[in-house]
C-alpha cells in the first residue's frame, strides 16, 4: 500500500521565522491519523503545504501519491479540507456558500449537503455573517465532508462545536474510517486525538517528535493521581509499585504519577480504604516532557 501522505525533509521558513523543519512522515490509507502539537508548533503550516497554499523552503510532500505542488489541482479535487478558524464568505447564506463551493468542486448533489446539515443541526438559510462561531464551523465541516473525499484534512476541527454536535462530528469521522477512507486530523487536545485516532504524530517547535500507534502512546502516557484514604497510608507501599513515581503522602492523602497502565497501582491502593480518587489527564506539556526524558535517557545510555 502506498501512503496517502508522504513528507520528505519538508521544511518551511517564513523569512527568518521557523515554520516546520525536516519533516519525514508517512500516513497510510484507512483510519484516522492524529497530528498533535501545541499552538504554533507548525501543524497548520504543514497542512497548508499539503494544499499548496504556501510553498516549501525545502523537501517535498506528496498526497494520494501526487506531488503536492505540481498536481495540486487533482489533489484538491480528491480531498476535503477544513481550515483552522475558517473565513467563509460573509455576504452569502449557508446555502449559497455551499452551492458555490459545490459548483467549484464540479457539482455535489444537494441532498447530500442537506443530510449533513440536518445531522449537524445547521440552519443554512441564514446569512453567514449572522452565525455564531460554532455555526460557521458547522458550515465549514459540511464543506469538507459533502463530496465524500478519499482523504479528509481537518485542522482543529472541533473548535467552537458544542458537545452534542461534537459527538455527531466524531460519529461522522468514524463513518469515514469505516468506509476505508482516511482522516488526517490536527489538534492540540490530547483527548480528542486519543478518542478518534489510530496513529498519532507529535510535533513541537516545527519538528516531529514521535509517530506511533495511539495504543502504544497511551501505554506510555502519564497520569497524575490524587487519592484520599480513610486512614493514613505508608509511603513506601506505593513507591515499590512498578510505574509509580513522585509519590508524596501527606497523612491520608496521596499524590503520585503513574506511567502506563493503572492496574497495579489500583490493586495496591485497594488494600486500603479509598474515599476519593482524582485523575488528572496529562497535559501535552507533560507528554512532551516524558518524551524528552526518554530521549535524554537514550542519549546518555
Amino acid at each position: 500500500m502506498n501512503p496517502v501522505i508522504k513528507l520528505q525533509k519538508l521544511t518551511k521558513y517564513y523569512g527568518e521565522q521557523r515554520g516546520v523543519l525536516d519533516l519525514d512522515m508517512e500516513v497510510m490509507p484507512g483510519g484516522v491519523f492524529g497530528y498533535l502539537g501545541p499552538n504554533g508548533a507548525g501543524k497548520t503550516t504543514t497542512i497548508r503545504l499539503l494544499l499548496d497554499l504556501i510553498r516549501p523552503t525545502g523537501g517535498s510532500a506528496s498526497v494520494l501519491c501526487l506531488n503536492a505542488q505540481a498536481d495540486s489541482l487533482e489533489i484538491r479535487r480528491r480531498i476535503g479540507y477544513l481550515p483552522a478558524d475558517p473565513a467563509l464568505y460573509d455576504s452569502l447564506t449557508g446555502k449559497q456558500f455551499l452551492l458555490h463551493v459545490a459548483s467549484l468542486k464540479g457539482g455535489v448533489p444537494w441532498s447530500k449537503i442537506q443530510r449533513l446539515a440536518d445531522r449537524l443541526e445547521c440552519d443554512l438559510s441564514r446569512n453567514i455573517r449572522t452565525l455564531s462561531h460554532g455555526n460557521r464551523q458547522k458550515v465549514a465541516v459540511i464543506r469538507a465532508f459533502m463530496h465524500e473525499p478519499e482523504l479528509l484534512i481537518l485542522d482543529e476541527p472541533t473548535s467552537g462545536l458544542d458537545p452534542l454536535i461534537q459527538q455527531e462530528f466524531e460519529l461522522m469521522v468514524k463513518e469515514v474510517k469505516a468506509d476505508g477512507r482516511t482522516v488526517f486530523l490536527s489538534s492540540h487536545i490530547l483527548k480528542e486525538v486519543e478518542d478518534l485516532c489510530d496513529r498519532v504524530a507529535i510535533i513541537r517547535d516545527g519538528r516531529l517528535v514521535a509517530v506511533e500507534d495511539v495504543a502504544a502512546f497511551k501505554a506510555r502516557s502519564i497520569r497524575s493521581l490524587e487519592l484520599r484514604f480513610g486512614h493514613p497510608v505508608p509511603q513506601n507501599a506505593f513507591q515499590a509499585v512498578d510505574g509509580v513515581r513522585n509519590v508524596v503522602v501527606n497523612g491520608a492523602v496521596l499524590k503520585c504519577e503513574v506511567v502506563g497502565s493503572l492496574n497495579r497501582f489500583i490493586k495496591t491502593a485497594a488494600q486500603h480504604e479509598v474515599v476519593d480518587i482524582t485523575v488528572h489527564e496529562p497535559s501535552l506539556e507533560e507528554i512532551f516532557l516524558a518524551f524528552y526524558r526518554e530521549e535524554d535517557a537514550d542519549a546518555s545510555a
Partner: protein, 268 residues
C-alpha cells in the same frame, strides 16, 4: 445560479455597489448636460474663461483651444478632462484592489484555493470581471450622454463621444489593472489602493506640469493621462498610438500578476 463560477460570484458580490455607481453616473451626466444650455447661450462665460492665464486653465484641464460654449468643448472641459476619468479610475482601483488582495484580507482565499480551482483561473475570472464592470460603467456614460446631449441641443459627434468614453475607460482600466496586479503580487489590499491611487495622482501632476513647463514637455509620455487626453478625443477622435500605449499600460501589469501570483505563498 449566480454562483456557478467566480465571474458570476463577483457579479453577485458587487451587484449593489455596481448599481449605485450606475445610478450615480446617470445622475451626474443628467446634471452636467442640463447645465449646458445656460452656458452655450452665455457668451460672457467664454470671455471669462479666456481671461484666465492659459497655464492656470491647463491645471483644470482646459486647453487653449477649448471653446467651452460648443457641445464638444463643454463635455471636454467639464466631463472628459478630469471628472469621468477620475470616477472610472476610482471605480477600477477599488475593484482591482479587492479582486485578489480582498480575498486575502478577509482570509477567504484559503477556502477558495483549497477547492479544485487553479490560481490562473481565479486570476482570469476576476480580471475578466474587472474589465466587464469597467466597460459596463463606461457604456453607461456613453449612453447617458448620447441620450442627454441632443435633448439640450449639444452638437456632438456620437463617434467622438464614443472615442472619449473609450479613452477614459482605458485609462480607468489601466489603473484598475495596476491595483489588481499589486494586490496579486502582495496580497495587501490597502497597499494596492495606496500605490495605485498615488501613481494616478503623480502621473496626473506630471501630465499637467508637462503641458505648462516647456522643459518638462517630454515628460508627458510618462503619464497615461496624456495618452487619454493628449489628443482631446471628443474633439479629434482616437489617436491610434495613444490607444496602443494605453492598452500596453493595461496588459503589462496583468501579465506580471499572472506570473507573480503563481509563485508566491498566500497571505493567510
Amino acid at each position: 445560479m449566480l454562483l456557478r463560477n467566480l465571474f458570476l460570484k463577483s457579479l453577485l458580490d458587487h451587484r449593489r455597489g455596481l448599481g449605485w455607481w450606475i445610478m450615480g453616473i446617470i445622475l451626474l451626466c443628467a446634471v452636467m448636460t442640463s447645465f449646458y444650455p445656460s452656458i452655450s447661450t452665455n457668451e460672457a462665460i467664454q470671455d471669462y474663461v479666456d481671461a484666465f492665464d492659459p497655464d492656470l486653465l491647463a491645471l483644470f484641464g482646459f486647453s487653449e483651444m477649448t471653446d467651452i460654449t460648443s457641445g464638444a468643448g463643454y463635455l471636454s472641459a467639464e466631463m472628459f478632462s478630469l471628472m469621468i476619468p477620475l470616477l472610472l479610475i476610482i471605480f477600477a482601483i477599488s475593484l482591482g484592489a479587492s479582486a485578489i488582495a480582498g480575498e486575502e484580507d478577509k482570509r477567504t482565499i484559503e477556502i477558495l484555493l483549497s477547492e479544485p480551482v487553479s490560481r490562473q483561473r481565479v486570476l482570469l475570472q476576476k480580471y475578466a470581471f474587472l474589465l466587464a464592470a469597467s466597460i459596463l460603467l463606461a457604456a453607461v456614460v456613453w449612453i447617458s450622454l448620447a441620450i442627454g446631449s441632443p435633448i439640450v441641443g449639444m452638437d456632438v459627434s456620437m463617434f467622438n463621444l464614443a472615442a472619449a468614453v473609450i479613452s477614459s475607460s482605458l485609462l480607468g482600466i489601466a489603473f484598475g489593472s495596476l491595483a489588481f496586479t499589486i494586490g496579486a503580487i502582495t496580497g495587501n489590499r490597502g497597499l494596492s489602493v495606496g500605490v495605485s491611487a498615488g501613481t494616478a495622482v503623480a502621473t496626473y501632476v506630471i501630465n499637467t506640469l508637462a503641458s505648462i513647463v516647456d522643459i518638462l514637455e517630454p515628460a508627458k509620455w510618462l503619464s497615461p493621462f496624456f495618452y487619454h487626453g493628449g489628443n482631446s478625443p471628443i474633439l479629434n477622435g482616437l489617436d491610434p498610438l495613444h490607444v496602443i500605449l494605453l492598452i500596453a499600460v493595461i496588459v503589462v501589469p496583468a501579465i506580471a500578476s499572472y506570473f507573480a501570483y503563481q509563485r508566491r505563498d498566500l497571505r493567510l
